[in-house]
Amino acid sequence: MADVYKLEDQNVDVLRFLYVSQSSAKGRAEALENIQTALDSWLDGYGSPPNSGGAGILNGLDRRAFIQELVPDLLRLSLTCPLDEVRNKCKDILTEVKERGPGVKVPRALKCGPSRFIPASEIDPADTTNEDKQMVFIESFLQNNRLENLHQVMGYHPRYLEAFVKTQNYLLRDDGPLPFPYRHYIALMAAARHQCVYLVRLHAQEFLLQGGDAQWLRGLEYAPQKLRNLCEVNNILAHRPWLLNKNHIEKLTRGNDTWSLSEMMQALIIIAHFHSLCSFIMGCGLAPEIDQGGCTTRNASSSGDDESEDYSSDSSVGGEMNANQVLEEDSLESLMQRMKELTESTHEEEPTQEELLKRFELVENQSSEISVPTKEKTSKKEEVLRFVTNSDFTYNDFAKRAPGLDIPTFRIQDYSWEDHAFSLANRLYSDIGNLLDDRFNIAFNLTYYTMGDIRSVDTSAFRQAIWYYIHCMYGIRHDDYDYAQVNQLLERNLKTYIKTVCCFPERITKKDYEGVMKGFKHSEKVHVNMMITEARMQAELLYALRAVNHYMT
């Protein structure tokens, strides 16, 4: 293991040193120039004029080690920065380091690109020529000095990406009741629930950059009690949000180390945001950032096992599933056909109310019958597990919820996002409602009227089916939706996929991704993942906000 990655040992100075995301071109140019000059003098140790510092020691830092740490970040900038001048300059610097660096190993990026599922050639590169995307990419870069792989993949849907970046930025970097390190730590806790190494690393780094205490990164027990109190809510929301009630909220707001309502609101939204983001990240198989394990110093020849090292998971499972797939494989055409039938035959005969409810329960039960690939993966990393309590607590089908608890189906008509949750969110954490509203609307309504290679399709039925199916898995019922449509439009293996991505994102594999939605383009698959993300987030938020509402009244 050449590239062991340690969360708490990251050198934040490296990132500060490489901070080039000024919004003005001039500022960037200066920053780059400074980096180059500094590196120049360090590389030779005693250039001209001779550097007066002791051999290899700079401000008490080992200079070579510093450069070594610098290199992966430089590599990242040189490959994924959406700004031409930064990319080129970093390339130059890197070449120079390679030539002159005394024993500095220059790594190379793993080949896979931003996503392990989607070939790199299918994804718009950082220097895309599409102007819309370019703008969003640059905006996202300027925010935290990196173009995340996540954003690059989301770049398929620039409108959504824009709303997404705006929300995330508001949640993490804008005015809000929570201190900045807290926000990233909460994000990290949420991501750890789904063992999303990608997010854990990213936010561990951000946490340090915001001046967080590196000790906390050693595990939950090192974090303040206040944050640890949040664990229970985090666990419940991640897997069985319907169990959340006002007692949980009360526990947080009473006693020592309390959360104020607005702090808690922000925390809840961050938690829901990152839980669902895990679904997206795993669902799209995002590769680690280049400087966070996405590069290697080994030779090209030995890289074979390297690729699968960190995020492996491809080979082990799927045998049984493949069998299913072959049987149920369903072509795009037949899906089109069914959608057509649905739209044409709306008036055949009115199903009775009882039947409609039965249909809902049927979908609910069926969904619980769908077996998600169960693998007790041993690769749960210590890196992530230290932020997790009660790691055996996982999703449990709503239909099979403990009978004694008497948790009724959540009726969307009684507590909807538009009428109730929105106002509550906005009241406790101003403006967040509008941002989330935008996201939900874009995710729900976005369509390009295509399916695979077929043009001008009304995809709304298909999209609705996905959205409502996810809500159904979390026990949320829309009275005015005919749940039979879900069964008609979503074949079994797609349901399996959705359920896995939604509830057990850590178990998704490349085979799963490739096995479903045959004939769909990658961008459409990303679209589906995006909808899963948002629908799940809404479901979680509905439960969370309803609990807060009950607590407040």
Binding site: Q413, E418, L424, D480
Partner: protein
């Protein structure tokens, strides 16, 4: 009808309520979403997810008469769970309910069987949000749904006759028919995107009116029962808006700000301005608002334990409401809580003349102090509206405090000074500002001369403090070049009205309002704070050699831990002298000229800037001196001793080393900043300009720019354009200098088409012709042009000059005797 008659008698005196109506309630065994009444208001239907009941309203209690929800208690049929319910206005036995699954269900109470369900329309694809019967057409039912359509159902034919659909497919949240007597065919619809539309039933293809009422979803709307042009809307943005829809575009008449998103609204019958609302979440009260008083509910009912979902007026004095807490309540208006009673109305403001105005309720303590006028009645405008409104009679007083001369002020003081009143008003009315703006010289002389000139100018308008500062500035910055000579500086006797008139005012205010009112307390403590702040910042100006005993007193006061007491300054029997001329005699020392500021260096110590270490001894000495001064000053006051006291500070400065050049730039910078902080932007900017390079680099550019901008703004407001532009030119700040370089060109207009000629002064872009040709050579004038304002002819300046040598008439031949000046 009986009820209506009954109401007629009640209009006369609202507070007398009918005796036989009592507040009452009933538990409906489930959250209620909606309710409606039959036409004679004897029965109520309540509907919710698990509730569908008819309840009889009797005089003293509710009685449940029938339950329409038949079958198993856990009936899963969604037709029984309604989001809205409506009772036919004409047919006593007909009900309609809207189900969340998109069904519209018709109920017939006259059916003999157990299930009263008559017919189900399954026309809507999504949830139905509202059903309403037409007011007079018994068989017309309108429904509005989440799927963006409104459908008109004909109950006789049992089918949908018309479908109304807006351009967008936004969800319909509420629909209401216009009251029958006002518009037979009209109805209004509220959409989720904030749009409200007025439709005519006869024209299903498009709406009559369309306007954006809210930025967020509209949840409710209600027609005014009497005024057909008034429509109230309410939504998630926590606002109730009243619109005049007759205007084009619809005019917003009133806005009421509530504390939570509004679920339902209902106008109060017979009260033009009253509207009841209930909230969608968090706020459990049913509030009744007077739309003219939008910040506090006129009345509120607090019975509900969970959010109220629906309100209905039985008559103007009886209100029914249902809630998610299973309850149906009947509220009697008389027993409502009036939040207006519990607030203490008070307000404070200051006029441009420095008068402080305080409005407060009379039950607070009587006002002592100097009240110039007492105006009672606050909050009521005409007696006519008084009878109409039922706000608590707010007896309040309005006191206006004015600056009044102290009767017992020292003679000398009175003789020398204008009364504080005059001073105050003058200070605020800015005459001295204008005077100074015109008189100040900012360039053309040496720094020293400029300072001297400006000092004289300031002295001329009685701004002694400023004048003194100018003088010191001059001294500081000229001595650097002048040779050392030995002179004696006699700081002129100055009578200072200490610490600006504002301070007096504050004290007065604090003193006069001794009521226990909270707000006033706040104001008062603010005053104290402000005063302290002024003292600490004011020390800079003190150090200019200008001494104010008054402030010293304050300082001493603070130092000795005594609280501030207005009477200390303005007490009646107090023979206090407000001015102590201070003479400073300075002996010897080569750096004598720097002494005026040196003498008060200790005060700088207080505010911060560090003094060079070699003066430390002196500093401590001076602190002692100042303290003893204060004590010395205190004593005579107590003993009522003669009013004049000279303070002679004899300072031996021989200790200074010859040739030590002390840098006073930081002092000057402090002074300038201090002026700016006090709001005297004029002095700050003028000094900044005059001292120029000496201080500019020590003040950060941003505040400099701010000062300049505000000064220029002030000057322009007083139309002192030339001075403003001079200031701009002298500013040295590129951002400010730019002001003079923008919009400097004035385009002439083409004489034919009046279009401004932007490209060049002699070719019109529209007429495509050359205009304003020279009268002599008939060529276009491309350089300097001159023309007669009488006949508008002219041309090249040289040609006209030549012409006029020998002629007096216009060269064009128009016969005008041209005059060129």
């Amino acid at each position: 009808m009986q009820a209506a008659m009954h109401n007629m008698t009640k209009v006369v005196q609202d507070k007398v309520s009918p005796t036989h109506n009592l507040p009452m309630s009933i538990n409906c065994d489930g959250p209620v979403n909606a309710m409606d009444m039959n036409k004679d208001m004897s029965k109520v239907v309540v509907a919710g997810r698990q509730v569908f009941k008819i309840i009889e309203v009797e005089d003293d209690m509710f009685v449940e008469t029938s339950n329409l929800r038949v079958g198993k208690p856990k009936n899963i049929n969604l037709n029984y769970s309604a989001a809205d319910v409506a009772w036919n206005h004409n047919d006593e036995n007909m009900l309609a309910s809207a189900a969340t699954n998109g069904a519209v269900v018709i109920w017939n109470l006259s059916k003999q069987v157990k299930s009263k369900q008559e017919f189900v329309f399954m026309e809507h694809k999504r949830s139905v949000n509202r059903v309403v019967f037409h007011n007079s057409e018994a068989y017309q039912l309108l429904s509005g749904s989440q799927d963006g359509t409104m459908k008109l159902h004909d109950l006789r034919r049992k089918q949908v006759t018309l479908t109304f659909m807006g351009r967008s497919s936004e969800s319909v949240r509420d629909i209401q028919f216009c009251p029958a007597n006002l518009g037979y065919f009209s109805f209004a619809a509220a959409y989720e995107n904030g749009i409200v539309q007025i439709w005519d039933m006869r024209r299903p293809d498009r709406c009559e009116k369309h306007f954006t009422a809210h930025n967020e979803p509209v949840f409710a709307l209600d027609w005014h029962p009497e005024d057909k042009h008034w429509l109230a809307t309410a939504g998630r943005d926590k606002m109730i808006k009243v619109w005049d829809i007759n205007k084009q575009p619809a005019q917003l008449l009133y806005v009421v700000q509530t504390i939570a998103s509004v679920g339902r609204i209902k106008w109060r019958p017979q009260r033009r301005y009253h509207i009841a609302n209930c909230s969608l979440l968090l706020d459990h009260n049913v509030n009744v608002w007077d739309v003219r008083r939008p910040y506090i509910p006129f009345a509120c009912f607090e019975q509900h334990k969970d959010v109220a979902t629906c309100v209905l007026w039985k008559d103007p004095h009886i209100l029914l409401s249902t809630g998610k807490d299973y309850m149906l309540h009947q509220h009697i208006f008389q027993s409502a809580k009036r939040p207006g009673d519990f607030v203490i109305p008070s307000g404070v403001d200051i006029s441009i003349h420095g008068d402080v105005c305080l409005a407060y309720k009379e039950r607070t303590a009587a006002v002592k102090g100097k009240e110039a006028g007492k105006i009672s009645m606050f909050g009521r405008k005409t007696s006519q509206s008084r009878s109409e409104l039922f706000f608590t009679q707010a007896n309040s007083s309005l006191a206006v405090f004015q600056q009044i001369a102290e009767p017992n002020t020292e003679d000398e003081f009175a003789a020398q000074q204008m009364s504080p009143t005059q001073l105050a008003s003058e200070d605020v009315s800015m005459t001295s500002f204008l005077e100074l703006a015109k008189k100040y010289r900012l360039k053309g002389l040496t720094t020293e001369e400029l300072c001297r000139h400006n000092s004289a100018a300031a002295a001329a308008v009685d701004k002694y403090q400023v004048a003194q500062t100018w003088q010191i500035m001059g001294n500081i910055f000229c001595t650097k070049t002048s040779s050392t000579k030995s002179t004696s500086l006699q700081v002129p006797r100055i009578n200072v009205t200490p610490n600006a008139p504002m301070d007096r005012q504050d004290v007065e205010k604090g003193k006069a309002v001794s009521s226990p009112d909270n707000e006033v307390e706040v104001v008062r403590s603010d005053n104290d704070k402000e005063k302290n702040g002024e003292i600490s910042t004011g020390t800079d100006s003190d150090s200019d050699g200008e001494s104010s005993e008054f402030e010293k007193n304050q300082l001493a006061d603070i130092a000795s831990g005594l609280g501030h007491n207005g009477d200390f300054f303005f007490g009646d029997g107090d023979n206090e002298t407000l001015s102590y001329p201070l003479g400073i005699t300075v002996q010897g020392g080569e750096d004598w000229t720097q002494l005026p500021s040196e003498a008060f260096q200790p005060r700088h110590e207080i505010t911060g800037p560090a003094a060079p270490p070699d003066r430390l001894d002196h500093d401590s000495l001076m602190v002692a001196a100042v303290e003893s001064d204060a004590v010395a000053v205190m004593t005579p006051i107590e003993e009522s001793e003669p009013s004049e006291q000279y303070l002679n500070l004899n300072i031996d400065c021989s200790a200074f080393h010859a040739g030590t050049v002390l840098d006073y730039t930081s002092t000057a910078v402090d002074i300038i900043c201090c002026f700016a902080e006090q709001g005297d932007i004029q002095s700050a900017v003028s000094m900044l300009i005059v001292l120029g390079d000496h201080v500019r680099s020590h003040i950060d550019g941003e505040s400099q720019e701010n000062w300049f901008m505000s000064y220029i703004d002030l000057l322009s407001r007083f139309r002192l354009w030339t001075i403003a532009s001079e200031v701009i030119a002298l500013s040295h700040l590129p951002q400010v200098m730019q002001l003079n370089q923008s919009s400097t060109s004035i385009h002439t207009a083409c004489p034919h088409c009046m279009r401004t000629m932007e490209r060049s002064g002699w070719l019109c872009d529209r007429c495509k012709s050359v205009v304003n040709m020279c009268s002599i050579c008939h060529c276009p004038v491309k350089g300097l042009a001159v023309w007669c304002q009488g006949c508008c002819h002219g041309g090249h300046i040289q040609h006209i000059q030549d012409w006029l040598v020998g002629n007096i008439l216009c060269p064009e031949g128009c016969g005008h005797m041209c005059e060129y000046t």
